[in-house]
């Protein structure tokens, strides 16, 4: 940290929060607020004279409230920058610190929050994790029994710079415990709280056990675990060393910790799976290896930076295998446990990776993006004519569209990822996506349904999952009927409901719309935009007299070639059970209603060449 603070190209803004982020890769504009310290940073030399005289003692959050701190203090001894700050919630304004500070005159009670605006090229999110609060698991007694502590509290107790100068004592009586029980997976691998494995708790439990064993040879340590997970380099050897050093490992998740009120000792009940028996272990101190959980304000930061979050609540990477460091928003990178529970080596590796990913952008004058971006026709956008709309902005997963009444919607091209959701959502056909224009896609529909359309299944597939799934079906040689015809779109959100209607007007037998599973969507929430639309379309089709089974929506991942083949086979079988005349009849009856829905397209001069073979709306209506 000290090296970073001294580096000419690094500025550390501590005590500062992100308020608002605008802009796009290479051109972010970030509003920050530096909270008042009530100490002038340039004048404070970190001597600590103010702390010595401060009469107020409050719990120290850095020491997890085990030790006190003063109302004017630094967060911890190694803090960088070393600038003291006053906790105004507790300061009684006795001004003893002002006197102690003397000629430096660094204390300023009139300090106000300072707003700051920075032009930033790239952003790395490394906000870390929070620790699960075990009080919600009553059976482990945390908060009820003083001698049940968390692993984080143990870290402070066993730390030579901690409140006990590295001497292990137990909270109830300050005595050095002769026995310790460690319980793993507290709040993790537990569907009631967090389903995921926190990953690094096995290693820190073993580390703490070995450390304490080295400090106190006679200490009796028992680790209760479900599975010990030591997959990284050298970890398994470390675990073996712990076993050899006499640390007891019991495979079995404890169900109850109760206290002997006379001694303050704890009795841990668990089933030892190797014995097949329930055993009770009495320990003078119990340590809970609590789960690593997302920071409580992760949601807030995700909104500011348009980040996606995994079901577990950690920030989601762009692609789990191929782009594990990139956030879905270009120019934003993830590092460390903010992206998922991680130990120190993995966090350092990801931090370095994030820095070099960012440097890749910063070292260039221009940045190439995919050409498939969306573009607004300002003459067609009704917002330009002073009407309220904003449908496109609501559909955009990246916040790339700004709609101001009286002005046409603005798409920040560099922020657009080309999912096409806005194009399909726009009720006035004012947005087009390059390479996936309405004209191009309608021409495909027309061509694919030229010949015996009632025998065809028209499948709209998203580029990333379903199209790749169909590809997998092919490369894996899964056989399925040849009646399907595929149209590739970037995201199922681009599949306009009017495309489906057009397909039925052109006589299609069946229509399949497929996309990613909700959690796999490559455009954060694109799948949801599509899914909502298709749900509405279902009832529309019903009203038009098109059988429900002739329109199907399926979420097929890139690996699910088998599912793609199965869905097409099922649809083909359903289609074969129809009399082609019945399908033609249904489509014919629905045609006038469809034509009414598609009137705007029929009259659109850009699409004239596509619809010239169809009767005009007026003719159909007659």
């Amino acid at each position: 940290m000290v090296d970073a603070a001294r580096h000419p190209n690094i500025t550390i803004l501590s005590n500062t929060e992100v308020e608002h982020v605008d802009g796009y890769i290479g051109n972010f504009s970030v509003n920050l607020v530096t909270k008042p310290r009530y100490v002038i940073a340039d004048r404070c030399n970190g001597c600590g004279a103010c702390t010595d005289v401060c009469p107020i003692e409050i719990p120290n959050p850095f020491e997890l409230d085990i030790a006190p701190r003063k109302a004017i203090d630094v967060p911890h001894g190694q803090a960088v920058p070393l600038i003291y700050a006053i906790d105004m919630d507790h300061c009684i304004q006795c001004y003893k610190c002002v006197t102690a500070c003397g000629k430096l005159d660094a204390i300023d009670f009139s300090q106000q929050p300072e707003e700051l605006n920075l032009d930033i090229g790239t952003i790395v999110v490394a906000t870390g994790f929070a620790s699960f609060d075990p009080t919600v698991i009553p059976e482990y007694g945390y908060g009820r029994y003083p001698n049940v502590i968390t692993a984080m509290e143990m870290e402070r107790l066993a730390n030579s710079a901690g409140p006990t100068v590295g001497r292990l004592v137990r909270p109830s009586d300050g005595k050095r415990p002769e026995s310790l029980a460690i319980i793993q997976c507290v709040g993790s691998r537990d569907k009631r709280f967090n389903e995921y494995c926190s990953g690094f708790c096995c290693m820190y439990a073993i580390k703490n056990a070995i450390l304490l064993k080295q400090m106190y040879h006679d200490i009796d340590i028992t680790i209760f675990y479900i599975d010990i997970r030591t997959p990284s380099k050298g970890y398994e050897e470390f675990y073996q060393r712990a076993r050899e050093s006499g640390i007891r490992f019991i495979q079995g998740r404890p169900s109850l910790v109760s206290e002997d009120p006379d001694t303050g000792n704890l009795i841990v009940e668990a089933e030892d799976r190797a014995l097949g028996q329930v055993i009770e272990v009495e320990a003078e101190l119990v340590m809970l290896s609590a789960a690593a959980i997302p920071q409580p304000d992760a949601e807030d930061l995700a909104n500011k930076l348009t980040l996606a979050r995994s079901p577990s609540g950690f920030f989601m990477e762009y692609h789990p295998k191929l782009r594990p460091v990139d956030a879905p928003t270009d120019g934003v990178y993830l590092a460390g446990a903010a992206q998922g529970p991680k130990d120190i080596p993995a966090s350092v590796a990801q931090g370095s990776a994030a820095a070099s990913r960012a440097a890749r952008v910063l070292s260039q004058d221009t940045w190439e993006i995919e050409p498939i971006v969306a573009e607004v026709d300002p003459t067609l956008c009704i917002s330009a004519h002073g009407k309220r709309c904003g449908v496109c902005a609501r559909a955009c997963p990246y916040g790339a569209i700004v709609v101001e009444q009286g002005k046409p919607a603005q798409i920040m091209t560099a922020k657009c990822h080309g999912c096409g959701g806005c194009v399909a959502e726009c009720p006035h056909n004012a947005i087009q996506q390059h390479h996936f224009t309405d004209a191009q896609l309608l021409a495909q529909i027309k061509a694919l349904l030229q010949d015996r359309p009632e025998e065809k299944i028209l499948a709209f597939m998203c580029n990333w999952c379903s199209y790749a799934g169909a590809d997998t079906a092919g490369t894996s040689h899964f056989s399925y009927p040849a009646s399907s015809r595929g149209i590739r779109v970037m995201c199922c959100a681009r599949t306009d409901d009017k495309f489906v209607l057009e397909a039925f007007r052109r006589g299609a037998g069946m229509v399949l719309v497929s996309g990613c599973h909700p959690q796999d969507c490559h455009y954060i929430t694109g799948q949801q935009v599509g899914a909502r639309r298709f749900e509405r379309l279902r009832s529309t089709l019903e009203r038009m007299g098109i059988d429900a089974e002739r329109f199907r929506v399926e979420w097929i991942s890139a690996a699910e070639g088998e599912k793609y083949a199965r869905v097409i086979t099922e649809m083909h079988e359903a289609l074969s059970s129809y009399d082609p005349a019945a399908i033609r009849q249904q489509n014919r009856e629905a045609a006038p209603k469809i034509a009414r829905r598609l009137r705007k397209w029929d009259e659109d001069p850009r699409l004239e060449s596509i619809f010239q073979d169809l009767p005009l709306f007026q003719e159909v209506a007659e």
């Binding site: 997976c185 479900i226 079995g252 998740r253 169900s255 009120p261 009940e269 097949g276 329930v278």
Partner: protein, 331 residues
């Protein structure tokens, strides 16, 4: 146990297809259920984790023929603590259903109804937590109703035995005679308490067997010696007010009923029944002009390891402060 070589691949699917069995395969064998379960105190071989694992592996015969599936009393101590949210008692119920379908029978013991004495009042049906007993047309005389026991549902808590106003129901180990014998064993009732001019108050304690987690806690409660008589019952709801009054009449200074905490009852609402009986009895004593403090219900939370000892201490202290008239006046 011998190794079973034939594993039935469909058995787990069969269990999961039934309501309650859905999550069988998600068990990661952490043993939380096995260590929280108190059935093992009285049946050391019982292990829900192993039953689940056997079912998941497909050891059909071993599971269906085992006594274990009938021992779970559906107290659901394990379910809220299971990290995989497996409703183990429902899985057990499903296994029992399958076993019954295959012709296996529940081992019992079951309450026996003396049909000549039963009046068909249905009090037992109202108190039974499992809908396992209720009136039905009598076999010999279909014109009258008598209580019938559904052996596939009964988990032998004994609530019906204590509730029957006619004394028509008996259950092995917890019938009236057995309880009276346990109370008066060793001539305990003949020793003088404060009521009968003795030096120290004597207390009779009916203890729900599930409310005491460990032998250590039980041993601590035994240190009071002859001053306190501990009588183990399957459930505090099994306590009979008539027996309490009888004991008070015999010169016992007070009666303590120990049951589980509200949501920890082994028989769903047994502790509720026990508590209600004691409260009514207290009101009755007050109406009759006696001290209601002589009977007390004490709830034991699973989180208080030596709560039993403390409850008895409190009770003895209360009894020591009460006046000590002669026994005949007390009741």
């Amino acid at each position: 146990m011998a190794v079973q070589t034939k594993l039935d691949a469909h058995f787990a699917q069969e269990v999961m297809a039934r309501p309650g069995g859905e999550h069988l395969l998600t068990c990661m064998a952490c043993g939380t259920c096995a260590s929280i379960c108190l059935v093992r105190r009285f049946h050391p071989a019982f292990n829900p984790r192993r039953v689940l694992h056997q079912a998941a592996l497909g050891m059909r015969e071993a599971v269906l023929s085992s006594e274990e599936i009938w021992l779970c009393s559906a107290c659901d101590a394990c379910y809220p603590r299971c990290p995989q949210e497996i409703h183990i008692s429902e899985v057990m119920g499903t296994l029992r259903d399958i076993a019954i379908g295959k012709g296996y029978e529940a081992p019992g013991p079951f309450p026996e109804v003396d049909r000549d004495v039963c009046s068909g009042c249905a009090a037992c049906a109202r108190v039974c937590p499992y809908e396992a007993i209720g009136p039905a047309p009598d076999e010999d005389d279909p014109s009258r109703q008598t209580a019938h026991v559904d052996k596939t549902r009964c988990l032998h808590c004994g609530l019906c035995v204590a509730t029957c106003p006619s004394g028509a129901i008996t259950l092995e180990e917890v019938n009236e005679q057995e309880v009276l014998t346990r109370v008066s064993a060793g001539g305990w009732l003949d020793q003088p308490g404060r009521l009968a001019g003795g030096p120290e108050p004597r207390c009779l304690a009916f203890v729900c067997q599930w409310s005491v987690r460990s032998d250590a806690a039980w041993a601590r409660a035994e240190r009071f010696g002859d001053q306190v008589r501990l009588v183990r019952l399957p459930c505090s709801g099994r306590v009979d007010p008539a027996v309490i009054l009888w004991a008070l009449g015999k010169g016992v200074d007070g009666v303590l009923v120990i049951g589980c905490d509200d949501d920890e009852c082994h028989y769903q609402r047994g502790t509720f029944a026990g508590r209600s009986k004691v409260y009514l009895l207290q009101e009755m004593l007050a109406t009759m002009g006696y001290q209601p403090e002589r009977v007390r219900f004490s709830r034991q939370s699973i989180y208080e390891r030596f709560g039993l000892e403390r409850s008895i201490e409190d009770m003895l202290q209360t009894l020591g402060q009460l006046p000590a008239p002669v026994a005949e006046q007390a009741i």
